[in-house]
Amino acid sequence: MPQAAAHWCGPSGESVNHPLPVFPHPRGREFVDFDEDLQIKDILRAVSEGYSDIQLAKRFSTCGMGPSQGRHSALAMARIVAGATGQTVTSTGVTTARPPLGPEKIGHCAGPALFPRRRSAMHGWHRSAGAHWMVADSWRRPAFYGSPGRAQQHIEEEVRAVRERAGIIDVSTLGGIDVQGPDAGEFLDRVYTGRLSSLDVNRSRYALMVNDAGAIIDDGVACRFAADRFYVTTTTGAAQRVYRNLLWWQAQWRLRVDIVNAGPAWAAFNVAGPAARDILRQAGFGEELNREAMPFLAARELEFAGTDARVIRVGFVGELGFEIHLPFHAAQSAWEHILEAGRPSGLQPFGVEAQRVLRLEKGHVIVGQDTDAMTHPMEIGMNWAVAWKKPDFVGKRALEILAEKTPYRQLVGFSLPRTDDHLPRESHLVIHAGRAVGRVTSSSYSPELQSIIGLAMVPPDLARTGGHLDIRCANNVIRQAEVRPTPFYDPDNERQQC
C-alpha cells in the first residue's frame, strides 16, 4: 500500500470502519474527487496544515464542492480525515452531500445581467469626493476616500481625524424599523434580549437579537420617541431579515403594534469626534445637542432647517458621536451643509475601513463578522445585554441552557507588534498543540495604539489575559499575539460619554 493510502487505516493499522476497497494506483494517482482533481495526498495536506475538522478540510481542499457535490467523494474524504487524525468517521462526521449540479443553459446567461444596487442619498457626493467603494450587501459604501494605491495612508488619516477632530460617515445602509402602538414596548421585549419597555422617552439602548437557538442574528439601537413609539436600527445585511422576523412574530402574537420598514425613508450619517458637538452647533443644531439636553444614549426628534430629524447619541467608533437620520431626499443637502460648517474644525468624511479600525479599538463587535451562525451572547461577553428576569423572549430557553453548559469558546482581544508582512487577517487560524482551535474574526493596524489589534474566537483556556495565541498567517507563518482585555482604547468610555 502506498504511503498516502496507508492513512486510510487507523492508528493500529486496522481500517477505520471496515476494510476499504483501496487499490494502489501504479503511478500513485489515488483520486478522491474527480471533479476537483483531488487525490489522497491533497486531503492529507489539508489535515497537516491544521484543517483537521472535516468541514475545514472540505473548504480548504474543495473536496465535494464540484458538480457532483460530494456524492462520490464525501465519505472517502471523511475516512481519510478520520485516518489521519486517529478518529473514526463516527466522530469526524461527514460533510453534506447535495444533489449534483445541473449544467447551466447558455440561454440563461444571455441578456442583461441585472444586479440590484442600492445607492444612498449621498452616493454622488461620495463619488465626487473620490470614494473607493466596497460591497456591503446590495449597497456600495465608501471604504475610504482617496487613491487605492495609498489606501492604508488614507485610512489612517481618517482614523486620526475622528480621534483628534471629527469625522462624518454615511450610515444610511443601516436598517430602520418603526414599531408603534400600545404594545410596542411589550413586543420589543419579546423579540430582543434586553428590556426595552423600561426605556425612557427620548432615550436609546443597545438591542441584541437572537434566534430560537440563542444564536445572535442582529444588533442595533432601540430609541423611544414616545410611550408608544419606538425606532430600532439594524445592521446593513440584516435589515430585510429583521423586518420579516418582526412581521412573522407579530403574526403569531397579534399584539397592538404596527411595524413599518422605515429605513428606506431615512438617510443617516454619524458625526463623531471631540469636535462633533461644536461642529453641529455651528451647523445650526444649537443648544438642542448640548450635554444636558443630549447626554450619552439620548435620542430625540428635532426639526432641522424645516425638516424632521432623528438624532441619537451613540458611539460605535468610541468618540462623542451623533447619529443623525434625515429624510432621504433632504439628506445630501444637510450632509454638505454640515461638512461646510465643520471645515474650520477639520471635519472630514471617513469610510467603512476607518470605522472598522475605530470600532475595533473600542472592542465593539460586528455581528456576522465577529459572530457566526452559532455564536451566543455569553461567548462574546454580552451577558449584560440579556435581561434574564424578563418572563420570556425569543431564544430565552436556549440561552438558559447554554448558560449552564461549560463554554467551549470565547471572543478575546489580542495585540501584537506591527510588521510589514505576515499580518493576521480575518479567518486566520489560531493553532494550539498542532491543531486549529480558533480563528481571527477581526484584525487591523491601530494608529492610536501603533500595533496590530484584533479579536479571535478561542477556547476558554486560551482566553486568559496576558496569555499567547499562535496565529497562522499567510505562508504558514506563525505569529504570536498577546491576549488583551477590551476595549483597547478608552476603557472607561470617557470619550464617547463626554
Binding site: P116, A121, D258, G284, A334
Partner: protein
Amino acid sequence: MLGRDGQPASLTQRSALHDWHQAHGAVFKPVAGQQMVACYDQGDREPHALATLGLVDLSLWPRRGYRGPGVEHWLSPRLALPSGVNQARQTERGDWVLRTGAFEYWWLSSLAGASAGQLPEEPAERPADGVYDLNIANSHALIALSGEEAPACLAGPCALDLRPDRFGPACLAQTQVAGINVQILRLHALAAPVFLLFCESSLALYLWESLLLAGRDLGAVAAGTDALEAQLTRARPDSEDGS
C-alpha cells in the same frame, strides 16, 4: 442662505436620480414646490417620446401614506377610498388614493390640472392611536413610464401581464420589476398608457437604468414634467374606481 443659528433656510430636496439628470442635460424648474426636471436638452422630442416610450422622474411629487387599524375609519369621511386591496381610485380633484394593504393607503397628488402637485391638508381630528404616518415621499421613488410601448417595455423585467385587457386603468399591483419590489399603478385610459412605478429610493437609479435598458430597442428616452403634463392634459381621465 442661512436661517436660525446657522441652519440653512431649508434643505434642498434631491431625487435619487438627481446626478443622472444633471449628467444628461436636465433643465430643472420648480414644480410642485420642488426642483424637478422640466425637460432635457432634447426637449422637443419628449412629447413624442411619451406617446411611444418615455420615463419621467416624479420622485419629488407630493404624496403621503397612512396605515393602521383606524385609518379607514379616519379617511373615509373625507376621501373616496378604493374598495379593496391593490386597487386605486381617483378623487374628484384628481388626486390618487392607492390601497396598498388592508390598513394602508397612499395619497398621491394629482398629476395634471389645476390641483396638480398640491395635496390638501390632511383630515383633522386624527384619532389618538391606530393611524400612523408613512413617509412614502422619501421611502419611495416614483417613475412614470408612458407610451404605447410601455407594456412591451415591462414585459421583460416584470412577470405581470400589463396589457389593458388584463391590467386595466386604476389597477394596482405589488410585484417585482428587474428583481426588486415595485408597486405599479396604471392610470386611466389616456392617449397612451401611463404606468406609475414606486420603488425604494435607494433603488431608484437601478430601476431607472433597468427600464431604459429594457426599452432601448423600443426607443425609450427620459423626459421631463413639461412633456408629461402635456401628455396628461391632452386626454383627461374619467373618474372611476379601478376595482
